[in-house]
Symmetry: C2
């Protein structure tokens, strides 16, 4: 049981965490801060937070648990703004979809107090963002990846496991490097590919005619291309190293298929497609998420 949650960023992710923590009876009081005062006010009116803080620093003051739920590009600035009120027993977590850059930012800003920080990535979301869409059940039944480092205090790490488990999450621990490679492969690269494909088609003279013929397969394949541009620009840049690595591996696979097509190697092509099809069908059955 925590006394006070300092919530920095009262949007979809942060707001939903606050609602769920309160419902689980895990916190007495929630002090919230958002960059936009109207968001903070709206969060208080909705009962997502109890008290509005005028700054990130003051949201942390007196907290024993802190959640940083801001865009990845703002994480370092947030660490810097709170560092003077971080205390040794405090549990600090984030919700960012990249981890190496967040950890680097935490090391630079928090220095020896980085041991309070447990990097977290709850795999949950909605098409609609903002505190208006905060949902007490957002994390229920989802996975959360924790990527502790050598310096991470085992006490805070265990608290983090307990908190997310209490919210109904399946907790997975990985190294930050494996996490970033995984999400480059299963999320960031698919987005990059979808962006590139849309631009490739729309850049052709008959692109509009082509698009008018596209059906359900194309609809599902390109759905992620309509994601929020600024958010994805930030995610892509913050995970650039692993993303470029995954993109290179993908292109090698694509070019190997192209070679089979060019040479008319029907058997090898079939084998590769069978492998892809079986992997996908198998994944579909084994998946853990809703």
């Amino acid at each position: 049981m925590f006394q006070q949650l300092g919530l920095i960023g009262c949007g979809l992710m942060g707001g939903s965490f606050a609602l769920a923590l309160k419902r689980a009876g895990l916190v007495k009081r929630i002090v919230g801060y958002s960059k936009s005062p109207s968001t903070t006010e709206r969060a208080r009116q909705m009962g997502v937070i109890d008290v509005e803080a005028p700054s990130a620093l003051l949201a942390v003051s007196g907290a024993d648990i802190v959640l940083i739920a801001v865009p990845v590009a703002s994480t370092e600035a947030t660490f810097k703004s709170i560092k003077h009120l971080v205390t040794p027993g405090m549990l600090i977590m984030d919700v960012g979809s990249t981890k190496r850059d967040v950890i680097d930012a935490a090391r630079r800003a928090l220095r020896e107090q980085v041991d309070c920080f447990v990097p977290a990535h709850p795999i949950a979301g909605k098409e609609l963002s903002g505190v208006e869409n905060a949902d007490v059940d957002l994390y229920q039944g989802r996975q959360v990846v924790l990527t502790p480092i050598d310096r991470t205090n085992p006490v805070q790490l265990q608290q983090a496991v307990d908190v997310w488990s209490a919210l109904g999450c399946r907790v997975v621990k990985m190294t930050p490097e494996s996490h970033d490679a995984a999400f480059a492969a299963i999320s960031h690269l698919p987005h990059l590919i979808a962006f590139a494909l849309m631009n490739s088609i729309s850049g052709q003279a008959l692109g509009k005619d082509f698009l008018s013929l596209a059906g359900p397969g194309f609809r599902d394949f390109t759905r992620i291309a309509a994601s929020e541009p600024a958010l994805w620009r930030d995610v892509i840049l913050s995970n650039r190293e692993e993303l470029l690595n995954q993109s290179r591996m993908f292109q090698r696979n694509l070019q190997s298929l192209e070679l089979m097509i060019t040479s008319g190697n029907s058997e090898a092509l079939l084998e590769q497609i069978e492998n892809a099809s079986a992997t996908r069908a198998n994944w579909s059955m084994a998946k853990q998420q809703k």
Copy 2:
């Protein structure tokens, strides 16, 4: 009104056409042939066809409308097997998802009688194939692309327009080249990419762990990777030229995004993502299909 449909291939596409043609009162009798005798028998038992033909040639005998609904790789063999009973007034159509190769096959096999042939691609389908899944409403409200050539007889072309319109389709006419480029861009390349991505991930040491973290975005993006391998091997090979061309354009776009990432050109990257996102959002609103 036609006297007799010769149906070659009594699967999902052919069976659904037969059911719809009969319901529309456009044909008196349906003679069907499938490579597998048990399929032909099943089609007759289900009332999809009236009479079982022992060969493709005999299915065409006495027909005034012929639909070839076989895998693209079997199209040329089918043309060859029926050519001796093709008569001048006959309307012959296919349902293949590539057109240049089908037209080449028709020219080679039918010679001067290629003028009876109206290349057709109804944009409809289901995850489940086979005559068991034949659906009288499969074509209702969908688009059908006709790709006539110089030699195509205007009488048969108009009949083809009338038939598909009567089945509730929106008829679009295109050159075979534009058709193949369009489907390379919006369908065949997305499949090839999805295959390559699945193989790229599953080929990595931690691939299984990565996949266990994948969520709804990945699910939709890779859904088409689970498509039927042999069918897609054939489609890919039959449209290889346009597909490789589209793949090259896509890779140029991807590599241009990579360059922006490498150089940290955040503004250009955002602009490209915004363009992709807007194109996709716009398409979603303008789409004609169910």
